[in-house]
């Protein structure tokens, strides 16, 4: 199985994985996998989990969305945030989840439902990934 390199770029850090065998991304229209020699393209990503299979094993990350740009020589992930499964602050995530649930239960009129749903799914996603 061929390996390729993945570059993960966020506003606060940049890092590389050079021996990736398989990458699974949370696309807007559903998860998809990327392997060597994938067709070039730009694909929008949703809140969800990233699975990166390298020579050294499998790693899980939680992301809040962004893009992936696939070119011949590398795959570049442009993400607004990324957290490795073992670095997720579970306490903070569950607090955020509780807060969002509470706000939904209050059901005030001026509530911004899009934003609320987004923060709910971000919190759920982070908790899910932290269990990987």
């Amino acid at each position: 199985m061929g390996v390729f390199s993945v570059e993960i770029v966020t506003p606060i850090k940049v890092f590389n994985e050079d021996t990736v065998k398989y990458l699974r991304c949370p696309g807007i229209d559903g998860s998809f996998g990327v392997m060597k020699k994938h067709r070039n393209g730009i694909i929008a990503l949703d809140i969800g989990e990233l699975k990166i299979e390298t020579k050294n094993g499998i790693e899980w990350y939680a992301t809040s969305g962004g893009f992936v740009e696939i070119t011949d020589d590398k795959v570049e992930l442009l993400l607004e945030s990324i957290e490795k499964s073992n670095e997720i602050d579970v306490k903070r995530a569950s607090e955020a989840l509780e807060r969002a649930k509470q706000r939904r239960a209050d059901n005030k009129e001026d509530i911004d439902s899009v934003r609320l749903e987004a923060s709910l799914s971000r919190a759920i996603n982070r908790l899910n990934v932290s269990n990987k």
Binding site: V9, T10, P11, I12, K13, V14, G27, I28, D29, R39, N40, G41, I42, I43, A44, G65, G66, F67, E69, I70, E76, L78, E80, S81, R115
Partner: protein, 284 residues
Amino acid sequence: MASLKDIRDRIKSVKSIQKVTSAMKMVAAAKVRKAQQKMEQARPYTLALEEVIHHILPDINRDDLDLLNIRDIKRKAYVIVSADRGLAGAFNSNITKVAEKEINEFGRENVDLFCIGKKARDHFKRREYNIIESHTDFWNDLNYDNAMMIGRSIIDHFTSGKVDEVHVIYNYFVNMAQQEIKSEVLLPLVYEDEEFEAKDRLYEPSKEALVGSLVPRHLNIQVWKYLLESYASEQAARMLAMENATTNAGDMIKSLTLEFNKARQAAITTEMLEIVSGAEALNE
């Protein structure tokens, strides 16, 4: 002439002020470095995002996207980036002055304000400007979420048609000794038309949807950049102000010490005169 004790007390208080100012200078220096580091870290993301946008934009009809719409300008929003704290020279007063002038030129009743930092908020609140939102108390713990939050509310305000143009006024960090107040148009986005050859590649979900979610992200990173520039400028301005204050305190200590020595000398002289004249009187 002030008494010896008065002068001694003043020297003491100036010395303790000097200690405070020089400590603040050190802290500000460390914070400038941190902000600069964050600016460095954000650069690859900004560049990569811009590149992607430039790749797709030629294939997009600008009228389809709210954030690229150019409308007649009836109302404007101003985002004013100031600091939470003072003691940074003229940092805050300069920016509010520039902002106030620009706002009044357009007509303050047609301007909505987004105030970032306590100083701008307090200034414009006191003068009863139309403040829509203010964001304060996050500078110490500055992270990307702040930028995303501010970016989102600005975008909402623009796309809902409440304003037709969004300006940002912030301090641009030129170097340690120099900050420049800049006023830029944030929305509607204007890109230079550059020719890129269309490549054969996959766009998912669609090019339009991609640009639709790329552009807000691009705005968020712009806001992040403004926050960092302003933060670095604030700390640099504070560093300079505190450096000056420390030097001034030093000068003051010097002249007070001189005065103290003179007063002490005068006291000794008087005392000696008294003793001598007393002795003279005994001899007679």
